[in-house]
């Protein structure tokens, strides 16, 4: 139990440094610390598949972010918005936080999973019948690639669309200009 608190506090410290530092590269590296901290946390939460995915995605994401920040002349940050706007947003965020934490009092406490109380909940059915229905010993894989495979198909579509969008945005010349002769 204590390991969760230690990791969570480390992630919070890294997050605050990432938000408040003035150097963009160190901010990006602190975000990497948050991501890898959450990967370790997934391992302790008994979610090895997510820990692996998070590690791989974190490495790729850091490479993308460092590509955006490195060798830019203005890698130092000018500052915050106007003082009044900052004060107002901090007050509103604090109010949201205080009211929002009240919700957790009504939820089952950490460690008391709600699905275990409902005998016919989806998770319970997957755990009982997953191996029988799909033949996969890993129940997460059974959900990901069999029970909810359309979800995975949609995910692949979203990923493809975003990569196509990124390529289109980063392309230097438009397609028309590439193939047409220069009129002069």
């Amino acid at each position: 139990m204590e390991i969760f608190y230690i990791l969570m506090v480390l992630m919070l410290i890294a997050g605050i440094i990432a938000v408040e530092t003035t150097n963009l590269l160190s901010a990006v590296i602190c975000v990497g610390a948050v991501g890898f901290g959450s990967a370790v946390m997934y391992l302790f939460l008994k979610a090895p598949d997510i820990a692996l995915t998070q590690t791989v995605v974190e490495v790729l994401g850091l490479v993308i972010l460092i590509r955006a920040t490195i060798s830019r002349e203005k890698s130092f940050i000018s500052g915050d918005r106007e003082f009044f706007a900052v004060v107002v947003s901090v007050v509103i965020l604090f109010l949201i936080f205080v009211i929002g934490t009240g919700i957790f009092a009504d939820m089952p406490p950490f460690g008391d999973a709600a699905f275990a109380r409902i005998p016919d909940s989806a998770s319970q059915v997957y755990l009982e019948n997953g191996v029988k229905d799909t033949g996969a010993a890993n129940i997460v894989t059974a959900v990901y690639l069999d029970y909810r495979v359309y979800d995975t198909l949609g995910e692949a579509t979203v990923l493809f669309t975003s990569v196509v969008g990124a390529i289109v945005i980063l392309r230097k010349k438009s397609r028309k200009l590439l193939f047409e002769e220069d009129p002069l």
Binding site: L65, S89, Y126, V131, N138, E155
Partner: protein, 125 residues
């Protein structure tokens, strides 16, 4: 308590998006919010039991026969597999949206020469 810390991480990300002027900082804030939400969803499935909780993977002793019947002990000890499968999707989609956001940031930097959102005001065709 742990849920509140997770919510605090979300709030730090939201603060970053609202207050900072640098575009890369705003992307970082969105990333922090994404980590917090993913972590919260996986935390919902954690079980604190008398014996140790196990990952939802039916290892050797949990399978009772060839047809794939699992032991009752496994069902009572495994953590929730459904949020894990959906968070897996969410993490990969997060990478896609991060690539798109960073591509837009690089393009704006090439066009305007700055990451500061208050200085990007001119409309250029």
């Amino acid at each position: 308590m742990l849920y509140s810390l997770c919510f605090l991480l979300f709030m730090i990300g939201l603060y970053c998006v609202l207050v900072k002027k640098n575009m890369i900082k705003i992307v970082i804030g969105i990333l922090l919010m994404e980590y917090a939400v993913n972590l919260f969803l996986v935390m919902l499935g954690w079980r604190k039991l008398a014996e140790e909780a196990v990952a939802p993977i039916a290892a050797g002793g949990d399978l009772l026969d060839k047809a794939g019947t699992v032991s009752q002990l496994f069902v009572s000890r495994a953590v929730d597999p459904l949020p894990q499968a959906l968070v897996l999707t969410s993490i990969v989609i997060g990478l896609g949206s991060l690539a798109l956001m960073v591509a837009i940031c690089i393009r704006i930097y090439e066009k305007y020469g700055t990451f500061d959102i208050t200085k990007i005001r001119r409309l250029k065709g």
